[in-house]
């Protein structure tokens, strides 16, 4: 009778132990998960430059830079506040199957011009395929090759650059 009992209980326990061991094999190490996540992470650098109306290249009167970490598909948001302007830039990078980045961006501008007492609003979406490290320029107030309307007013340029995230040593 005891032998018959062993015949039933022992295989059940062995089966459960094997399943348990098998499931433990599939367990993911949190450090490994974090490293895998970091390997997909992207660093987005956004530089803002204020340009005089007649500025040539690299002659900004002011600049600032911000760096943000994100994952493909996760947007980052930057807001620029000025005396007569507020600019929003929302950037969402996607990694395509080819390895290229598809940059989706939305620019929103609230601007009050001295000649107008109203506040103007404009919003535009962009979809631009870029490679890692390639610079994307955004002119939220536009850019014109014509003679500037006023020498006292400035323009603004935003530069977006996406690179794979690298841990600092």
């Amino acid at each position: 009778m005891r032998a018959a009992r062993k015949k039933v209980v022992v295989p059940i326990l062995l089966g459960l132990a094997v399943l348990q061991a098998h499931s433990q094999d599939r367990e993911i190490d949190p450090n490994e998960a974090l490293q895998s996540l970091l390997s997909k992470a992207l660093t987005i650098t956004i530089s803002a430059r204020v340009l005089p109306p007649d500025a040539l290249d690299d002659q900004a009167i002011w600049n600032a830079e911000t760096e943000k970490l994100t994952l493909p598909g996760r947007p980052i948001k930057v807001r620029l506040d000025g005396d007569n302007v507020r600019i929003y830039l929302v950037v969402t990078p996607y990694i395509q199957e080819s390895g290229e980045i598809l940059l989706l961006a939305q620019g929103q501008v609230w601007l009050s011009e001295p000649t107008d007492k109203e506040v103007k609003y404009s919003s535009t979406f962009y979809s631009i395929p870029v490679t890692f490290g390639e610079k994307v320029l955004f002119f939220p107030l536009g850019v014109s090759s014509e003679e500037p309307r006023s020498k006292d007013f400035f323009n603004i340029e935003l530069e977006i650059k996406i690179v794979p995230y690298k841990e600092s040593p």
Binding site: A4, I46, L69, V85, T124
Partner: protein, 184 residues
């Protein structure tokens, strides 16, 4: 009158005292029937007194075989899942507790990969697929710990004071190379 077998057996064993033993001896000398009975008793007595043990091992084996086949017949009538095993209550409780523990830990382990921050699937080809299986708040925490900033808030850049900006047309966005080409 002839003596019965019991008196003859007692006479053979020397348990009959005089003068009765003499009378029995005289009767045996004159009675053929009693003398034949007495000779059979003597023969039995002689066999019992001898050193030869009767052969019993073969008979014992036959009995054991018979008992074993009967037991197998009784067990064979019931399938395994219908058999009842008499198990002491403490042992049964211990086994049940052990099975419950193993079952719960197994289920927890199997589900564990889905309740963590990320679920990573190792593809047979060697690639890795990452699925975010966590609530957004957890992901924000993770990204915050990675970048040292809160993703739910936008970065705010304050433009310099006394700088008035003016529109020069429509918003434009493109790669730097594209703008350089247009300039040329």
């Amino acid at each position: 009158m002839c003596p019965d077998n019991g008196i003859l057996s007692a006479y053979l064993d020397g348990e009959i005292d005089a003068p009765w033993n003499k009378a029995i001896a005289e009767h045996l000398a004159s009675c053929d029937l009693c003398r034949a009975v007495f000779r059979r008793l003597e023969e039995t007595h002689r066999v019992l007194q001898s050193d030869e043990a009767p052969e019993w091992t073969e008979a014992m084996d036959r009995v054991r075989l018979n008992l074993g086949s009967r037991a197998a017949g009784v067990l064979g009538r019931f399938p395994l899942w219908k058999r009842r095993l008499p198990v002491p209550v403490p042992v049964a409780a211990l086994v049940a507790a052990l099975l419950l523990f193993l079952g719960v830990s197994l289920a927890f382990t199997l589900l564990r990969s889905n309740v963590g921050l990320v679920k990573i699937t190792l593809a047979p080809a060697g690639g890795t697929e990452i699925q975010i299986a966590a609530p957004i708040s957890n992901l924000e925490s993770l990204l915050k710990s990675l970048g040292g900033e809160d993703m739910t808030h936008e970065d705010i850049i304050t433009l310099p004071k006394n700088v008035r900006l003016l529109t020069s047309g429509q918003q434009l966005m493109g790669t730097e190379a594209e703008f350089l080409r247009k300039k040329k």
